[in-house]
């Protein structure tokens, strides 16, 4: 629960290493969604060599390439700051490489296993082929009701342990690559392979994270542009599938 006399703090964790894929946009979305509700925000970028504040309200980790991901994991392991933050129950969103780092191990350069932070019961191994394309998820659990849409681009296959749940069931795309699911949901930590950025395409998820951090439900906020984008993206995936099915039928 945050105090009422200070700005809401959005902390970007190592964006110099973990923001390959436009994931900085997640911070922009959260900041703007709060600003439009009259809530003052502060956006803090914690680059390598800077101490991670423990007073953040939400922590964001994005995707990154191999060498950068390995450096980021080493830095976060060394400082233990993120572990402390997660233990305090702060809200964390971790995308792609960021999610992989939170697990026990992930695949580094040339597929060799690298030690993760061990904050979540998951592990990532290299896949045979890259998963690239539009993704649609049906959320599992009761916190979300709308489909999730995004774009994935990753090699890793992530296996969840028994003590954590996925973010959603894969309707289109690959996701974690095992059991037809994507991402992870554990207390107030959310991980996913969806870029887009994920919060730009999925306002329900954005507001869920904010309501956890604020400790209260937020006033509804509907952006027409977002509704139109979701309609376009979900429709595009359906149309592509229909074309492929049609082609398949014609060939037979």
């Amino acid at each position: 629960m945050k105090g009422t006399d200070s700005a809401f703090r959005i902390v970007e964790v190592l964006p110099d290493l973990l923001a390959t894929y436009g994931d900085g946009g997640n911070a922009v979305v959260l900041q703007e969604r709060l600003r439009r509700r009259g809530i003052a925000t502060e956006r803090i970028s914690v680059r390598i060599g800077t101490a991670l504040p423990s007073s953040g309200d939400i922590y964001l980790l994005g995707g990154g390439e191999d060498a950068a991901q390995i450096l980021a994991a080493a830095e976060l392991r060394r400082s233990r700051a993120l572990a402390r933050v997660a233990a305090q129950g702060r809200v964390v969103l971790a995308v792609c490489a960021g999610m992989q780092i939170l697990g026990s191990t992930f695949a580094g350069v040339d597929g060799r296993a690298v030690k993760g932070l061990g904050l979540l019961d998951l592990a990532t191994a290299p896949g045979r082929t890259r998963a690239v394309g539009e993704v649609v998820l049906e959320p599992t659990g009761s916190a979300l009701s709308q489909p999730l849409t995004g774009f994935e681009n990753h090699l890793g296959i992530t296996t969840l342990g028994a003590s954590v749940a996925p973010l959603g069931r894969v309707v289109r795309g690959i996701g974690n690559g095992i059991d037809g699911i994507d991402g992870v949901l554990a207390e107030h930590v959310v991980g996913t392979y969806l870029h887009g950025p994920v919060l730009a395409r999925n306002p329900e998820l954005a507001d869920l994270l904010l309501s956890w951090a604020v400790g209260d439900e937020l006033a509804p906020l509907r952006l027409e542009a977002v509704a139109r984008l979701r309609h376009d993206r979900l429709h595009a995936v359906q149309a592509r599938r229909a074309r492929m099915l049609h082609r398949g039928r014609r060939a037979n």
């Binding site: 890259r130 894969v170 984008l229």
Partner: protein, 454 residues
């Protein structure tokens, strides 16, 4: 593993899609940078047959109004004679230009600089930068002893082996079409291997860009140019020593590797070689990026024997690079077309547009597509500081206008959405319109503009 849906998967971890045809390496000796070769080499029977088939296909293409036929001609030739590129390169001085941004512009600049000495130059001025485009360019100028060819970064290794170039220019390496190209680091490693294999080649490298500096670091012959860098997000970690890159306020940077000082630098518009002034860059083309391209072109030209004053003079007249930066009267407006393909080039384009908006009233049309040539995903929109367009009259158009609209909304940029790019331009309230478009949208608009002129 359960697979659902229809996600596109690409082979990992390598980056490039398989070339449209096999490109065989060249076995004849290379021409080194200072020489101009004596003449054309003999062509094999197989190649001669392939050329006839290619010419026939090109003729058919023109007869059926499908296009000028250069590309299909080149493709057929390569399919029938995989060593076509090697044969067509033999006896010629080949210069390859690659990098994420600036290839077409720098290629044009270098070709103009060399032409200023009277040499005929073969070049792919329309940006057809895959192997078939290079074949077409070499066929189109059979008497040219020198060829300046832009080549897509993914294809440089095979094309370098095929053409055994006298010179390679490495401009910059940043993220671009991540779903097609894959990780930038893998590209750097492959370029580094290609440089190391090309032992007779002079490499002109931008040492202000961490990745191109690294790719050229072991080249036997190298010309180091400080061409600057606007985008550093893909090069935070040195690909050779794996430590963090430390940057100051200017373009210089350091890591665990020995520092490589540039021989050529720019101070504003002043060109310096070993710290001594050798001329001024005067361009009709806008933006800092184009001055950097000019520096690379002048340094390369000089290493090929072109005097600096001639090279600089030849660049002054350039106004339009294959449709980029040019002005066309269209739909009742003066339209200035700009190509923006990835966050680095979008930043450069935004800087040009906002500077112009401060000087005169104009509208901005942003056209975003996500076809194969653009990269299928639009997450990169969030790496572009569109906030700079607040207060400007902005129109969003293209097949991914919805993605752009969300980005603009969150950026606090008021805008209209118009589905058809032609209407987007036609309905602008100002006479001057800057149009920034992704690659396939850019080509489509250029085609419309050309059609209406005829």
């Amino acid at each position: 593993m359960t697979r659902t849906g229809s996600a596109v998967t690409a082979p990992a971890p390598s980056v490039a899609p398989a070339p449209s045809a096999v490109v065989a390496p060249r076995t004849t000796p290379a021409v080194i940078a200072g020489q101009v070769p004596s003449g054309r080499a003999r062509r094999s029977v197989r190649l001669r047959v392939a050329l006839r088939c290619g010419a026939a296909a090109a003729w058919l293409s023109r007869a059926a109004h499908l296009g000028r036929g250069q590309m299909i001609g080149g493709r057929i030739v390569l399919t029938l004679a995989p060593d076509a590129l090697a044969q067509l390169s033999t006896g010629r001085r080949i210069v390859l230009v690659t990098g994420t941004n600036g290839k077409t512009t720098t290629t044009r600049m270098l070709a103009e600089a060399i032409s200023s000495t009277g040499d005929r130059v073969a070049t792919n001025a329309t940006g057809a930068n895959m192997p078939d485009g290079l074949v077409a360019a070499l066929l189109a100028a059979p008497r040219a002893r020198t060829a300046v060819l832009e080549i897509d970064e993914c294809y440089l290794p095979t094309v370098a082996a095929a053409t055994r170039p006298a010179m390679m220019l490495l401009l910059n390496l940043t993220r671009d079409q991540l779903d097609r190209v894959g990780e930038v680091r893998i590209l750097e490693r492959r370029l580094r291997a290609a440089v190391n294999a090309a032992t007779d080649c002079t490499v002109v490298s931008n040492v202000d860009d961490v990745l191109t500096c690294s790719a050229a670091s072991d080249a036997r012959r190298v010309v180091r140019v400080g061409a600057g860098t606007g985008w550093t997000a893909d090069s935070q970690v040195c690909p050779r020593c794996f430590s963090m890159v430390r940057r100051g306020s200017g373009p210089s940077w350091s890591c665990g590797c020995p520092r490589q000082e540039p021989m050529w630098t720019l101070a504003g518009s002043t060109v310096l070689r070993h710290g001594t002034t050798v001329g001024q860059v005067q361009l009709s083309l806008p933006g800092k990026g184009n001055r950097a391209n000019a520096l690379m072109a002048v340094a390369a030209a000089n290493a090929l024997g072109v005097p600096v004053p001639s090279a600089l003079k030849s660049l002054r007249v350039l106004r339009d690079i294959d449709g980029r930066f040019g002005t066309v009267a269209w739909q009742g407006h003066d339209v200035h077309l700009l190509l923006a393909k990835n966050p680095a080039s979008w930043r450069e384009i935004l800087a040009i547009m906002t500077a112009r908006s401060q000087r005169s009233r104009r509208s901005v049309v942003l056209c975003v597509e996500a076809r194969a040539a653009d990269g299928l995903d639009t997450s990169w929109l969030w790496d572009v500081p569109f906030e700079q367009l607040r207060g400007v009259d902005v129109v969003a158009t293209g097949s991914r206008a919805a993605d752009l609209a969300v980005r603009l909304d969150y950026a606090g940029v008021d805008h209209r959405i118009v589905d058809d790019p032609r209407d987007a331009v036609a309905t602008c309230s100002t006479h001057d319109v800057d149009v920034a478009a992704t690659y396939s949208a850019f080509r489509k608009m250029r085609g419309w503009m050309a059609d209406e002129r005829h």
